[in-house]
């Protein structure tokens, strides 16, 4: 899915999807996970403002020649204030681990097999509780190594 990038005035599911896509460098984020995660983020009073600010700063950076392919947050670090920088890291951690760490409420799982920590080893290492190799499928190295 191509992402149309422009500064936004109000937060929405689509803006959350775009900022998630920008921070994770992925255009194919699972739609159900985006919706679920958006609802959890919106439980935080500061979330709408942070989603919008981080989105707009990245869009502005891209409009000024920032590459979308590499270390977006590091390259934008000088433009983020402390809160924005924290939020971008928080969003990235939530996407990778599939776990939302609240400051005051109990930790919550928001994604399992769609968590991005599984992305780089898909087809190589089975996702725990979800994928299996079949009997003896573990005796040789996977295709990745051959």
């Amino acid at each position: 899915m191509s992402v149309v990038l422009a500064e936004e005035k109000t937060v929405s599911l689509d803006v959350f999807r775009k900022v998630s896509s920008l921070v994770t460098l992925r255009d194919n984020l699972d739609a159900d996970t985006v919706s679920r995660m958006y609802k959890v983020f919106l439980d935080e009073p500061w979330a709408p403002d942070h989603i919008l600010r981080v989105h707009n700063k990245i869009v502005a950076g891209l409009a000024n020649g920032l590459s979308r392919k590499n270390h977006l947050m590091k390259d934008l670090a000088w433009k983020f204030d402390e809160g924005e920088s924290w939020f971008a890291g928080h969003l990235l951690m939530t996407w990778y681990l599939g776990v939302y760490y609240h400051a005051e409420r109990p930790t919550q799982r928001v994604a399992y097999e769609t968590a991005l920590m599984f992305d780089s080893t898909r087809g190589i290492l089975p996702i725990p509780l979800v994928e299996s190799l079949g009997f003896g499928g573990w005796t040789d190295a996977p295709e990745d190594a051959r």
Binding site: V23, T24, L25, R26, K69, N70, H71, L72, M73, K74, G89, L92, M93, Y96, L97, V99, Y100, P106, T107, Q108, R109, Y112, E113, L116, M117, F118, D119, S120, T121, I124, L125, P126, I127, P128, L129, V130, E131, S132, L133, G134, F135, G136, G137, W138, T139, D140, A141, P142, D144, A145
Partner: protein, 532 residues
């Protein structure tokens, strides 16, 4: 609602010990057997779903932890279920559900070696057992058939019959490590395991989910729920959500008080009573049953109930291998080295078991890299590199029985069920410290031989093997029960738990416990026939 349950045999606990004993008794023709279990029944598929929905990366969060049958919970540090005292780290874990803790075990089922039963005689340390290997061997064989064990060699424990199933094949990682350690002279054997390498008694072949603990999604790994279901088919009544909290005695055991979740009392009366409630809850129940006539608790004339707690403390070493080994493919552990299990060194340092482990480490790995500030695309490459090159090894040691290690009750503090809190003192002596020093040195040599980097080599951690606190022996002054698990004090009380072990060996205790239960089953049956 209060009630009374009368039966021939009352068994407290539905884990591997209780369920297997019940089956054995039923097979021997004993009728009217009741198992009471504190926890609820659970469903495998639902439990897998709960783990996938849980934010915690542990072995228990998918299982119930209700107020009426509480258990240890690592994720609730503010309200510890067990009060820890003593200098050594201990973080115990077990379940209170129908089927017990084998729902989330690693399924490793080695036999003890003959010398493990006479540690004191052979090496002058620890304690001897009141039963020897030759006596137990037929019951080991029977337990392996009941549980369904896949294995290969005898590994120093002579066998009268081959394993019921062929071994689980080694993983690619196992083979790379075994090859890399050949120059050191280290050899690996198939680790006997309760995983089906072929369809076995209704269980399918292992599919390699790699999550033996917290749960085997396919059911190829044995869990005591198989024996619970088998017992029920043989006519055994299993009463769940009924927590035993007090045993009454008048010379013999006369009844057990239990509570339902609504607080109502259930009185259990039988001819024979079996306490099979795991290595901590078993001595705890005996101690909780203290009264005016028995201030030390039930079965405790010796004063040794709750003493001599032993674990298999282990050092875990995580390595970064020079090339990918794809560790988390296949069952969690397939091979071990028994090279350090026995020898004259046991006079000074413990028996040790070296194993290659394959737990999935996605969360810890990604979390660690995120906290270093990594972001895409580098984090993806680094996660892949770290996970595919990771290898994990474990050295678990034999802990000596030490009288000061064990539990007492804190009557001033209560758990969520209103029962006195368990207070557990735990420490290591110079014998164990020598084992840890050996393990640390061994891991450094292993890393060098594999040309690998040590990523982490931490402090000793428990393996959740709970042994020793109702030790068996021939002398009532120095032990709690005889070689059948029968209380020296109350002839109609059998204690069937790994708490019977007078010494620990360095290998997983469940198979030895199962063998003890099968042997005890014959004795209980005999005792009922001759009029108790």
């Amino acid at each position: 609602m209060s009630g009374t349950i009368d039966a021939n045999v009352i068994i407290i606990g539905s884990g591997v010990a209780g369920a297997m004993t019940a089956c054995k008794l039923a097979q021997l023709g004993v009728r009217d057997i009741v198992i009471v279990e504190a926890g609820p029944r659970i469903d495998r598929a639902e439990t897998v779903k709960k783990f996938r929905a849980s934010p915690f990366i542990d072995s228990s969060s998918g299982y119930p932890n209700p107020d009426y049958a509480p258990r240890p919970d690592w994720n609730d540090a503010k309200n510890p279920y067990i009060e820890k005292t003593g200098p050594a780290f201990l973080n115990e874990e077990y379940l209170r559900v129908v089927g017990g803790t084998t729902w989330h075990w690693g399924g490793c089922t080695p036999r003890f070696r003959p010398v493990d039963f006479r540690l004191a005689s052979a090496y002058g340390v620890g304690a001897d057992w009141p039963v020897d290997y030759d006596t137990l061997e037929p019951f080991y064989t029977e337990a392996e058939e009941e549980i369904g064990i896949a294995g290969e060699e005898d590994d120093g424990s002579p066998r009268s019959k081959p394993y019921p199933m062929a071994r689980i094949p080694s993983s690619y990682c196992d083979k790379v490590i075994a090859e890399g350690l050949k120059p050191m002279g280290i050899t690996f054997n198939a680790r006997p395991s309760a995983r089906a390498s072929r369809p076995y008694n209704g269980r399918g072949q292992c599919q390699g989910f790699g999550t033996c603990s917290p749960i085997c999604p396919s059911g190829a790994q044995y869990a005591a729920i198989y024996h619970v279901e088998k017992a029920e088919k043989l006519g055994v009544r299993v009463v769940d959500t009924t927590r035993a909290e007090r045993i009454h005695a008048d010379g013999k055991i006369t009844s057990v008080e239990a509570r339902k979740p609504d607080g109502s009392l259930v009185t259990l009366r039988g001819k024979i009573y079996v306490v099979a409630a795991n290595g901590i809850e078993t001595p705890r129940l005996l101690l909780m049953s203290a009264g005016e006539r028995r201030p030390r608790g039930i079965a405790n004339t010796s004063g040794l109930v709750g003493r001599y707690f032993m674990e298999h403390p282990a050092l875990t070493c995580r390595l970064k291998m020079p090339r990918p080994v794809y560790s988390s493919r296949g069952p969690e552990s397939i091979v071990t080295s028994s090279d350090f299990r026995d020898g004259p060194f046991r006079r000074e340092r413990p028996s040790s078991m070296l194993s290659i482990e394959h737990p999935p480490r996605f969360h810890e790995t990604a979390d660690g890299l995120l906290r270093q500030g990594l972001e895409p695309p580098k984090i993806d490459a680094d996660v892949k590199d770290a996970l595919t090159r990771m290898a994990e090894m474990n050295i678990g040691i034999e802990q000596l029985p030490d009288r000061q290690n064990g539990i007492t009750l804190n009557w001033d503090k209560r758990d969520r069920a209103g029962q006195p809190l368990t207070r557990l003192y735990y420490s290591f002596g110079s014998y164990e410290q020598a084992g840890f020093a050996f393990a640390r040195d061994m891991f450094k040599k292993i890393a060098a031989s594999l040309q690998a980097q040590i990523v982490s080599l931490g402090d000793p951690v428990p393996q959740f093997h709970l042994m020793g606190m109702t030790r068996m022996g021939n002398d009532p002054k120095t032990s709690v029960a005889d070689s059948f698990g029968r209380s020296h004090d109350h002839k109609n009380l059998f204690i069937l738990s790994s708490s019977l072990f007078p010494s620990a060996s360095s290998v997983n205790p469940t198979l030895t416990l199962a063998a003890l239960c099968l042997r005890a089953g014959h004795e209980i049956s005999r005792q009922l026939k001759v009029g108790n």
